[in-house]
Structures are given as C-alpha cells and as structure tokens.
C-alpha cells in the first residue's frame, strides 16, 4: 500500500497555528477590484466552504492562493511560510494542490497517465521511478473510483468522471491542502452524493479542504466552517448554520426586502 497523502510533517505541528493563512489579500485587475482586503485562516483537518454570488471573487482568491495570480497586496502563508507570488508549480510542490473550475485533463493521455503527472511532480520529496509514480496514481484512481477507467483515454470520460479525475490528479501530488473549485457544478444528485463522500474520505485521510461551491445544501452538510464573499469582500465566516442565517449573507444572495 502506498501512502497517498504525505503524513503531516512535524514542522507543521507548531501548536494551533493555521495551516493556511490569507492576510488582507487584495487583487486588482486594472480598475476592477476582484478581491478586496480578505483574510481567511484554515486549520488542519477542516473543510472550509467558500461561498458567495457570482463574481464575488472566490475563484480569484483561489488563484491567488494557488500561485496562478499574484496578489496586488497582502500575504498568503502555508505552514508558516509565505507563498504569495510564488509560481503555481512551486505552491503545488510545497503541498497546496488545486482543481480547475473548468476541467482540463491532458487529452492525449490515458486516465492513469494523467494522474501520474501529479504523482511525478507533486509535493517533494517525490519518487523518481516510473513504477512508484504508477502505484501512487493507481492508488489515487482507486480512491476516486476511477480504477476501472485507468487505461481509457481521458477525453472519453463523462463530466462527472472528469471532475473526479481532477481530484485524483490533485490527490496524487500528495497535498496537505486541496482547493476544490466547483467540483459539484453540473453533476446530478447521485454524482453529487458520490463526490461529497469522496471529499469526506479525503479529509479522513488527513487532507485539509477548501471548497468553492454554489450548492448550499451540499456545503451546509459538508463543511465545518463557511466563509462568505460578496463583491470582493468577506462578509461572514463561521459555523454553517449561523452563517447561512446571517442577515448580510441573505441580503447578498437574495437582495434586501423593499421597505
């Protein structure tokens, strides 16, 4: 059996400090402020939901954490080390993996080969042998219920399977934190339940999850904590029931009642 998830390094056991810490991050695109002064802390073992209306800045915040976008100001720390402004591949190798909102498998590779890329290049130290990478990839596919499709071309998968492939690839990098960007979008209720089960199983194996999601029913059942963004700002952060009952949150989603 291969250890899919790198065991929590002893260096991260620095008391109760957050695993991932976003401090006063702002991201501007020209005149548009996509993320405005947002702080967010994620502790090991949590499932944090990040919700908000379209255009609230959730995906942009994810891209800042994952190293795809550089923040205009503010800091991001992972295991106490600053990661803001580092390239995406370095952030991944440090242990923060992410899935794409629009799934992008490598079209001319098999499902297994897709996951092997993550196994080869994820969090250091990595196994160098092809055989070891194959084992890690198989384990990730098995975990995600895709083992039977290992030898199929990635482009033949259904949307639901592609979304699980994204998760399998991220998992094969051996991450401490996985950022899931709308992995439930476009799935039917059965597929949604399977994916939620998968996310819970990931947490049970020691992976910390931050998930952007529009399906509020799913988020309420899944997350230990929810942060809400609207118009680039964080407007609430706390336990699911209290956050979803918050007047500001309801106003952001539904608008205010006319007087």
């Amino acid at each position: 059996m291969v250890d899919l998830v790198a065991s929590q390094p002893s260096s991260s056991g620095r008391g109760a400090g957050p695993l991932l810490s976003v401090e006063r991050v702002t991201k501007r695109f020209g005149g548009l402020v996509a993320v405005s002064d947002v702080s967010l802390q994620v502790f090991a073992g949590e499932i944090v939901g990040l919700i908000g209306p379209n255009g609230a800045g959730k995906s942009t915040l994810f891209k800042v954490i994952a190293g795809i976008n550089r923040p205009t100001s503010g800091t991001v720390e992972f295991e106490g080390r600053p990661i803001a402004g580092k390239r995406a591949d370095r952030v991944c190798r440090l242990g923060v993996a992410s899935t794409h909102q629009i799934v992008r498998p490598f079209p001319h590779m098999t499902v297994l080969e897709n996951v092997m890329v993550g196994a080869f290049f994820g969090r250091v130290p990595r196994p160098h042998g092809t055989r070891a990478a194959r084992e890690i990839a198989f384990e990730a596919l098995h975990f995600c219920g895709l083992a039977a499709r290992a030898e199929d071309a990635a482009r033949t998968l259904t949307l639901a399977a592609r979304k699980r492939l994204e998760i399998a690839r991220a998992l094969a990098t051996g991450p401490a934190v996985v950022l899931l960007d709308e992995v439930l979008a476009g799935l039917n209720p059965t597929e949604t339940d399977r994916t939620l089960e998968l996310v819970r199983a990931m947490v049970a194996r020691g992976v910390t999850i931050v998930i952007v999601e529009h399906n509020l029913r799913a988020v309420r059942g899944l997350c230990s904590r929810i942060a809400v963004m609207a118009q680039g700002r964080k407007i609430a952060d706390g336990a699911p029931t209290s956050v979803l009952a918050d007047a500001n949150v309801i106003a952001a989603y539904l608008g205010t009642e006319p007087p």
Partner: protein, 320 residues
C-alpha cells in the same frame, strides 16, 4: 503486447549492428555510404528537433542556429590547430548554452508566438555570422583542406543518430517525458500539478540543441566548408521541421523515417530537377496536414488499428 515490447529494442539493436558493419562489408560503395551518412546525420537532427518540437510541442523554426554554432565552433577551432574530434563536445556545449540564452526569454511566449520568435533568432544568428567576418570569415565562410575518411564520418553520424534515438526512446518512458507531454497538452494544468514548465522546456531545448550542435560538427568535417547561407540558412531550418513532420511529430521513430524520405527525395531531385524537391515537400506537407497529422508513423498506426478491429470483428463472427 509484451512480445512487441521485447521485439522492438531487439530489432533496433540488430539494425544498428547491420549499419555498423556496412562500411566494412562494402568498402567501395562510396555513393551508398554517402547517402546513408546523410540519412543518419539528418536523422539525428530530426530526432533532436523532435525532443523540443514533438515531445514538448514547442515548434522551433530556429534550429539552424544551433547547427551553425556547432559547425562554426568546429571549423574555427580546427583551423586553429585543434583535432576536429576534440571540438565535438565544445560544439555541442556551445549550442546548448546558446539555446539557453535565447530560449529562456523566448519561452515567455507560447504557441505560434514562440515559433515566430525562433524565426527571428535563426535570422539574427545568420546575420551575426555574416557580419562578424573576423571570426567567421563573413559571406565567404571557412574552409578546410581535408577531413576524416568517409568510413569514420559514417560511423560518427551513425553513433550520433543512435544516441539521439536512444535518448528519444528513454524520454517517452521517463518522468522527463511526462513533463514534456503535460506541457505540450496543457501548460497551465501541468504547472498546477507541480511541473516547473520553464525548467523542463529549457532542458528539452538544451538537449535538442546540443545534439544538433554535434551534428553541425560532423557536418563541418564532411563538407569542409561552412558559410552563413549553408548552415544558418532558412531552408536548413525548414528541413529540420519538415523531416519529423513527414515521419510523425512526437513519435520516437517518425523522425528517422522522415529523414529517409527527405534524403531520398532531395537526392532524386538534385540529379533530375533542381529545386523541384521544394515542390515535393510542399505537397507532402499539405497531404500530411490534411489527412494524417502524425505523419507516416500515424498513418501506419491507424492502418494497424483498423486491421485489429476487423480481425476482432471476424473472430467474434466466427466464434458466435
């Protein structure tokens, strides 16, 4: 499946052994030896181009620059009193260093924009060679009186070709090859999975340029003459792109097949109809782009696949 995996390296080893024996078995077949020399030299360059252009998907129209750097390095040192063989590693090393210097800024561009930049690199290098007459002899180039015997040239081209294909064979099975394939298919997705895309593109380019630079060294020993228009010319750069495309971009053996077809067509037309070879290559390229983007190897594979399906269908009917 496993039968094929054992058989292919064995066939390659047997073919290599036969090729090594040719100059000993037929010491007087000078023309045939010359044609085979060209096939192996161009085969090596074609396989080298395929590392960055085929495996990593970064189409370069500037590889003549690396051929020229290698060829000039050998000519300059050789005329300065060096043994030509001692210049071989220097030719490869200089070409690799030059490729890193010009490649790192070019890799900030992607897809067709990168390709356009490589055209500029090739032309700029040619102009430098043309005008730096103190070092390069300017437009008239550099010449030497006599080189190594043809049999030795043949064996060195064969060794380089075998090395280039051995490296290609290894790449597609390795972690390095996975990085290049991921970069080719989706650079952004590769990066989010931890692939240092700039590093691996640069490594692939340097490896490719080193092999082409060594080919340039052997080229200089063969022709005993290098000039900006011969080694740095745009038609040389295009030849390096045409061969792998004819044979099969991104496949291991396609570049060798492309080099054979290329050398054959060129030799035929050189005798009968000068410059009509360009027309033949043009038509061939159009046919490949329209019908079989993976070249001759791709066409062969789809024929085999179709036969397999037919056989299975026939077996199913017979069994049922």
């Amino acid at each position: 499946m496993s039968k094929v995996h054992v058989a292919r390296p064995l066939i390659a080893a047997a073919a290599l052994l036969c090729a090594v024996l040719v100059p000993f078995a037929y010491p007087h077949a000078e023309y045939a030896l010359d044609v085979l020399f060209l096939i192996f030299l161009y085969g090596a360059m074609s396989a080298a181009w395929n590392i960055i252009g085929g495996f990593a998907g970064q189409i370069s129209f500037g590889h003549a620059a690396f051929l020229g750097v290698g060829a000039y390095a050998t000519m300059i040192l050789w005329s300065g009193g060096w043994s030509p063989w001692a210049t071989v590693p220097i030719a490869g090393g200089l070409a690799a260093i030059y490729s890193i210097v010009v490649g790192v800024p070019s890799f900030r561009l992607r897809g067709p924009y990168f390709s356009i930049a490589t055209i500029g690199i090739g032309e700029a290098t040619r102009l430098v060679a043309l005008n730096w007459s103190k070092l390069t002899g300017g437009a008239s180039g550099l010449t030497m009186a006599a080189g190594p015997p043809p049999q030795v040239q043949y064996l060195s081209a064969l060794a380089l070709c075998a090395a280039a294909f051995g490296i290609s064979w290894w790449i597609v099975r390795s972690r390095f090859g996975f990085a290049l394939a991921a970069i080719k298919q989706d650079t952004d997705a590769a990066q989010t999975l931890g692939v240092d895309t700039t590093l691996f593109k640069t490594l692939a380019l340097a490896l490719s340029a080193a092999l082409v630079g060594i080919a340039g060294s052997i080229y200089a020993m063969h022709y005993l003459y290098v000039s900006p228009d011969s080694v740095f010319g745009f038609s040389t750069a295009i030849a390096l792109v045409i061969m792998p495309i004819i044979g099969g971009v991104g496949t291991v053996w396609g570049p060798l097949i492309g080099a054979i077809v290329y050398t054959f067509i060129r030799e035929q037309f050189a005798v009968k109809l000068a410059n009509a070879d360009l027309l033949a290559f043009g038509l061939l390229l159009v046919a490949i782009v329209l019908f079989e983007p993976k070249g001759i190897v791709g066409a062969w594979e789809s024929i085999v696949a179709r036969r397999g399906i037919r056989k299975r269908a026939a077996g199913a009917t017979a069994g049922g």
